[in-house]
Every structure is written in C-alpha cells, then in structure tokens.
C-alpha cells in the first residue's frame, strides 16, 4: 500500500506535469464545439453528466431504459424549470459501454476527454468495479479533473467495503443489505422449511449464495438448504435439469440472483415444469421480463428493491410517473434511484454552488434527503452507501396502478422495512480521502 507521503509526492510530480501541458486549449476546443452543436445554445455552460451503460447489445433495453429515466428526470425536474445553479442546464451524455469493462474504460476516457465529471453507471458489478479502479487511478493522477462515479444500481458489497472510494457513491442497497431483509421475510414465513439457492457462477451469484446461507442459519436454523447451485452465466440452454434437482430436493422456495435471460429462462422452466414454489430474487421485473412471465408468474415471484412500485405513496411521484409514461410510452420508471441520485447531486451542487466533484462529494456525505416518493434517504459518509426503506414486492396484476411493459402486470409491495432497520455496520471500508 501507498503511504500518504508517497501519494503526495506523486501528486506533486503530477501537478508539475500537468502545468507543462495545455489542457485549457483543449477545454476551449470542446466548448466551442459544444456551442456550435448544442441545441440549447445557452449563455452558460451546461452541467454535463454522463450516463454509461449498455446501449447496444444484449443488455441494451435495460441501459436505454435507464438513460431515458435520467434524461427525463433532468428535463422534467430542472431543465424545464430554468436549470440549476442559476440557469445552467443539465446535459445528459449517453456513453455506451456495451456491458464490458474494457469498453467502459474507453468510454470513461471519452468522458474525461469531454470534460465530464459525473458518471452514472449501474449495470454489472464487474463494470462498476473496473470503472471504480479507473476513476481512482485517474483522479490520483489528474488532480483538479476528478470524476465522480454515481453508482445507481451495482450491488456488489465490495464497492462500499474493501474497495470503497471517496469518488464512488452508491444509491442502491447492496446485495448483503437486500439479502438481510429478504431472509427476514423468508424466516418469518412459517411455511418455508427448506430453500434452494441457484445462481450464476460469478461474484454476485456467490455473494447471494454465501450470504443467504449464513443469514438463514442465524435466523432460522431449522430451514434446510436443499441445494446450492451455480451455473455458468449465459451458457445454459435449458434450465429443466436444474428444476429437476430442485423438485427432487423438496425445496419450498428458491433464492436466485440471476438477471437477464438467465432469470427469465429459470423462472419459465420452474413454471413450465409445474413446480409451484415461490422464487425470491432481485431482477425479475420490467424491460420485457414482466411481460414474458405474465400470468404464469403471478404471485410466485418476489423481488426486493427500494421505492415501492404499487401503491405509490405520493401524488408528486405519481405525477412524475405519468409524465414519464406520456413521454416514453414503451418504458417504465424502473429505477427511481436514478432520480434520487440526480436530485441529491443537484442539491449538493446548489448547496456548495460548485460542480467540482470534491465539493459535491463532501456535501453528499451524510446528506439526508426526502425523495419525491416521500421516502427518507441517508447517504452515509463513512462508506458512501445509501440507506432508505426496502420493500418486497410480488409479481401480480392485482392492485397494480402502474404496470410494467404495458402488460397489466407489475409489482405490488407486500412488505416494507424502514430506513433504520436496513442499516448495516461499516465493515471493511477504510476510505482514503483526497486532500485539498
């Protein structure tokens, strides 16, 4: 590990090097291009925020849906009302990382090239980790041009534990927090005597498996772990053989962290083979999945997430949903945390009257904020992990005012846990704070 002194001397050398080059010219260059091409042609430079997620390829629908939400939130909440910081618009710059760590690195350089200092990213913990590394390296080597990682959805605990960083803020509950609530819920269900855990063979799948087993052992030692299975990501053609094992094991419930096509195939196999047990999971709604599961999945799939989908508590948020739906008839507000993140960052900017990620970062630490859904949010300063109430919802068509994929089906919240009960202690985060 690097000592603080080394760090400083490196920074110093770095500064000298930078002074010798001419980044200013470049910035003017970018600016002038912007002035020519920007559709706003404003007197003031817009605040540019990048949205980096897969916009092409297999995961494109999730990425594009997120992009639309961020774009809409920026326009609806700020740009249409005269902007922020006394008249500056928010400009969302889409960057397609194709769900690849390598491509993310390239897109990150593109962002830096364009003078962007805030990057929203959510899909894929591998990408988030790679981006975290890249941003830390960049910020260390280029003081004054720091970039903040706005993680709205990557749930690998490591990002706010061992690898926590001043420049990374997470607006989603991490996997362990979610599992904590999910296992509470399972433990409280007397009918469940054994569970089967199945997941994709990678870090998140393993986290889900290890943590659920540990937590269930603490909470309900009598629950039998009927199976603990890993399958390769995206390689399984047919989940029926796995379902056979689940049937044979006599499990009463399935826990899985699968996403994308692996989630759909697994759920479909379980349903098609007539196995009538609940599935507890994270990513089994929206972006085509709800429509695909349809009637078959009713009352069988339960998800853990923040911000309820149905019923929605405040009129303000309902209004936001309706406006979004009017603008994007084929999409849903799948990730309200994108809006939360944007609103909190803007609030921090307004407080500090600065767009420098360092100032904004300090202002975000320990910020308490009320979302348009009336939910209270706390950004913990020690590890930059957000806390807010968590909910478990069921896939159904009853009581669903805001459905998903225009299918009539959606999520209905059955169980909620207030903010205080979601808090987990800071375990392994020893954050190195930059000095100014």
């Amino acid at each position: 590990m690097l000592s603080a002194d080394d760090n400083n001397s490196k920074n110093y050398r770095e500064n000298k090097k930078l002074a010798m080059r001419t980044p200013q010219i470049f910035r003017y260059f970018v600016l002038s291009i912007l002035l020519v091409f920007s559709s706003y042609t404003l007197s003031q430079e817009p605040v540019r925020i990048a949205f980096m997620d897969p916009l092409t390829g297999a995961f494109a629908s999730i990425g594009n849906s997120g992009l639309k939400q961020l774009q809409f939130a920026a326009d609806y909440l700020y740009n249409s009302k005269g902007g922020i910081l006394g008249g500056r618009m928010i400009e969302i710059v889409p960057l397609d990382n194709k769900q690849s760590p390598t491509e993310s690195q390239l897109q990150f350089r593109r962002a830096v090239s364009g003078g962007i200092q805030y990057i929203f990213q959510g899909n894929g913990s591998a990408v988030a980790n790679a981006l975290n590394d890249a941003i830390n390296r960049h910020n260390r080597r280029n003081p004054g041009q720091e970039v903040m990682q706005v993680n709205y959805s990557a749930v690998d605990p490591i990002l706010t534990e061992e690898n926590c960083s001043f420049w990374h803020f997470r607006w989603d509950a991490h996997a362990n927090m979610k599992l904590n609530i999910l296992t509470d819920y399972i433990a409280a269900n007397e009918g469940i005597n054994s569970v089967y855990i199945i997941g994709q063979d990678y870090s998140f799948g393993q986290v889900v498996s290890d943590t659920s087993i540990e937590l269930l052992r603490q909470k309900r030692p009598d629950i039998k772990i009927a199976g603990n299975e890993f399958h390769p990501i995206g390689q399984v053609k047919d989940f029926t053989p796995y379902v056979t094992k689940i049937v044979a094991s006599g499990a009463d419930a399935v826990i899985t962290g699968n996403y994308g096509a692996d989630m759909v195939s697994l759920a479909r196999s379980i349903i098609d083979n007539g196995l009538d047990i609940p599935i507890y999971t994270f990513y089994a709604a929206y972006d085509g999945i709800t429509a695909t599961l349809g009637e078959d999945g009713k009352d069988r799939i339960r998800l853990i997430h923040n911000e309820t989908s149905n019923p929605i508590p405040t009129e303000q948020r309902k209004e936001f949903y309706r406006a979004f739906k009017a603008a994007n008839p084929n999409n849903d507000v799948t990730q309200p945390r994108i809006t939360n993140a944007l609103m909190m960052i803007v609030q921090a900017m307004e407080e500090t009257q600065s767009t420098d990620p360092y100032d904004v970062g300090l202002a975000l630490e320990d910020m308490r904020f009320t979302t348009i859904g009336g939910d209270e949010v706390w950004m913990r300063g020690e590890d930059h992990q957000v806390f807010q109430s968590l909910h478990i919802s069921v896939h159904t068509d009853e009581g669903v005012e805001f459905d998903a994929d225009n299918s009539g089906f959606g999520l209905y919240t059955e169980y909620s846990v207030p903010l205080e009960e979601t808090i987990v202690p800071v375990n392994e985060c020893r954050m190195r704070r930059p000095r100014r």
């Binding site: 770095e14 092409t56 760590p101 350089r109 591998a126 080597r141």
Partner: protein, 414 residues
C-alpha cells in the same frame, strides 16, 4: 537502392505512428491510438496464423488474453515489490506467456490444418474462456484483475502516469513487433509456412514436416498475440475474461479479413478501420454493429482479399500508368454508390428511431409520416439503378486497363 526504398517504408511507418498525437491530442484520441496499436499487433499475429500459415483459428484471443493476464499479474507483483523491473518490459512478459501457451497447445492442435484445426481452436477457446470464470483466484472472475503501471522503477524519469507516455511505449513495441513479424515472413520457417499453407503434402516431400512448420508459425503467432496482450495490460491496467473469449477471437478474425489476408499490410489496415468504427461509429449510431456485419459480409463477397487486396489489384494498372483511365468510371459508379450507402443508412436509422423528429446529415426528417420514408426509399432505389447502369462501363474500363497492361508486358519482354 532497394534497401533505401524498403527502409523508407519503415521509417514512414514509424514517423507516422509517432506523429499521430501531434495532430490529435485529446485524451480520447490518445486512447483510440493506444487501442489501435494493440489491435495492429494482434491482427498481425493473427495474419501470421491464417494469412501466412493457413490455420483458421477461432480461439486466437486465448494467447492475447493469457499474455495480458500474466502481464497484469506482473504489474501487481511490481506494485507489491515481489518483482522489480521497468514496466517497459511488460509486453515481453505477455509475449512469453503467449509463447508458452502456444508451445503447449500447439503440440496437439497443429497436427492438421483446415477444419480440424479450426474446431480444436474453437474448443480450446471455449474451454479457456469458461475456465477463466471458474478459476477466480487467477482470472478474477468476470471483474477481472487490475494493476497499476506507475509503481515500477521510472524509465528515464517517466513514470507512466499519462496514456500519451504509454502510447509512445506502445509505438516502440508495435514497431519492433511489426518489424520482426515482417522479417519472419522472409526466413526459411516463414516461407515454408506459406508453402505448407498452399500445399502441405508437397512440403513433406521437400524435407519439411508440415506439422512442425505449422507448430513454429503457431508459436510465433502466440508470442506476438501475447505481446499485444501485454500492451493491453499496460494501457488499461486491467484485464477481464472478455479479452480471451470467442468474441475477441471473432473480432481479430474480422479485422484481419477485412484488411486483407495474406498481404502483410492488410491486418494493419483492418485493425485501424475496425478500431475507428468501434470507437467512433458507435457514438453516432446504436446500429453500428449491424453496419459492421453488413460491411464484413460485403467484403467477403466482393473483396475476398480485403481492402489491401483491393489496393493491390491496381498495382499493375498503376505500374503501367493506366490508372487515369479508371478515374472517371470509378467516379461514375462511386458517386451513386456513396449516395446509396448514405441513403440506406438514413432509411435504416429512420425506421429504427423512436423520436418523431430525426436529424440526419443536417436534415430534419419526420419518422411518423410515410413521406420521408418514401423519399429516402426513392433515393436508395435511384442510386441502386445508377450503380447497376454504370457497372458494365466500369467493368469494361477495368478490363481494358488490364488488357493493355498485358500487352505492355509482352512488349517489354520481347
């Protein structure tokens, strides 16, 4: 005389590479150049295998990736002071690992060329890509492993903070690697690789074991792929399993093929074109992969020897000064072709967009009504019609240009 002429090409190559950052110096541009440098070495190494040695591989990324993984591990070891050497040697670490892997895998995969080799390479590629997700302690799972290049002893005061510094280092390696790969084609082993590609049976009757010749080429290709992997490690400072999976193998096949197999310069062209498409085109359109696929298929269909082959086709005409006679016919076909491409892209984009208003080439289209669709469709059809009409003319011009060349040659000979 010829020595000077030949070295001029090389000096231009080196100067061109060195001068690039003088013209484009944004962070993004440097990052694209770095990518290009890596792609060039990788594509050249693939060409050694397929173009020179006739071995169609669907798993060449294995050597690239393994080289890269070991290179990142070496960076980590330097960081933790287990090793201590300047990071300029990291590509060599990658190359060495690529070579080792090829030495081992080559013992059973080079037995035959053709489909058998292709299938073994596919199988090995899938196996290693799958194992890379299973053996997490070495490969780091889907998140990969990462290092930091700034911890080694400084090299003449350079500590490799900036990507520009890495670019110059990459240029040095690209130049050396290109030079050595070129020299390889001029050695007995390199020439015999061509001979075995053309006719493995006959090669055996002039004293060479086809298998051994393939093995040597295979190992050399593995070595240079590893060097490319090492450069990757230096540039990105991390590597993941996606760098040794089938998609990466497919991409290098694409770039070598589009550039032109068999021509030494082909893969360089291919690598540059593909990198630019990947990093620039993808910004303008979600559909760039579709365009890439179409371009690839058209290349296979109409330019079987790639871009380099297309250029080389004109060598004879050029040498006999007949190129002028082709300019007009090329223009007559070229202009409608250009319009055809532009209009087709417009049509595809227009039918893909969700927005009601659609900007393309500074024009504003309305995707909700049929009129704009019809207008563009008419443009596409008209251009297509013009191309069809002008093609016989082009063909005739081409043939006459080449025919006269033949006559000239006969005159020259008699």
């Amino acid at each position: 005389m010829t020595v000077i002429k030949k070295s001029t090409v090389w000096i231009c190559y080196l100067l061109g590479l060195l001068a690039l950052p003088q013209f484009f110096d944004s962070v993004l541009a440097i990052s694209i150049f770095n990518q290009m440098a890596i792609a060039i070495v990788f594509a050249l190494s693939y060409n050694m295998l397929l173009g020179q040695g006739g071995m169609l591989s669907f798993g060449h990324a294995v050597y690239f990736g393994l080289g890269g993984f070991l290179a990142v591990h070496a960076l980590v070891m330097i960081e933790f002071e287990i090793l201590s050497f300047s990071i300029i040697w990291i590509p060599l670490v990658g190359g060495f690992i690529g070579l080792l892997a090829a030495l081992f895998i080559g013992t059973f995969s080079t037995h035959k060329a053709g489909t058998v080799f292709a299938m073994i390479s596919l199988g090995i590629g899938e196996l290693i890509a799958a194992s890379s997700l299973i053996f997490v302690s070495f490969f780091g799972g889907e998140a990969g492993i990462s290092g930091d290049r700034t911890f080694g002893p400084p090299f003449f005061g350079i500590e490799w903070f900036q990507n520009l510094e890495i670019y110059y280092l990459a240029v040095a390696w690209v130049f050396i690697a290109t030079l050595f790969m070129y020299f390889f084609t001029l050695t007995p082993a390199g020439k015999m690789a061509n001979a075995v590609r053309d006719n493995p049976e006959r090669a055996e009757f002039i004293g060479y074991s086809a298998r051994r010749v393939r093995y040597i080429t295979f190992c050399a290709a593995g070595f240079f792929a590893g060097i490319a992997g090492g450069l990757f490690a230096l540039n990105y400072e991390f590597i993941t399993e996606e760098n040794l999976n089938a998609a990466t193998s497919g991409r290098v096949l694409l770039s070598a093929y589009i550039g032109g197999l068999g021509y030494f310069i082909g893969p360089i062209i291919g690598a540059v074109v593909l990198t630019l498409m990947n990093s620039l085109l993808s910004n303008y359109s979600d559909l760039w992969m579709l365009y890439l696929g179409i371009m690839f298929l058209l290349t296979v269909l109409f330019l079987p020897r790639g871009f380099a082959g297309f250029i080389m086709m004109h060598q004879m005409v050029w040498a006999h000064g007949k190129i002028k006679s082709l300019v007009l016919p090329y223009l007559i076909t070229g202009v409608p072709s250009f319009i055809f491409v532009i209009a087709s892209v417009g049509l595809i984009e227009l039918s893909h967009t969700d927005e009601a208003e659609f900007y393309y080439l500074g024009l504003n289209f309305d995707s909700t009504t049929a009129i704009d669709f019809i207008l563009i469709s008419i443009a596409v059809l008209a251009a297509l019609f013009c191309i069809r009409k002008s093609l016989p003319q082009l063909r005739a011009a081409w043939e006459s240009a080449n025919e006269i060349s033949d006559d000239d040659e006969k005159e020259a000979q008699s």
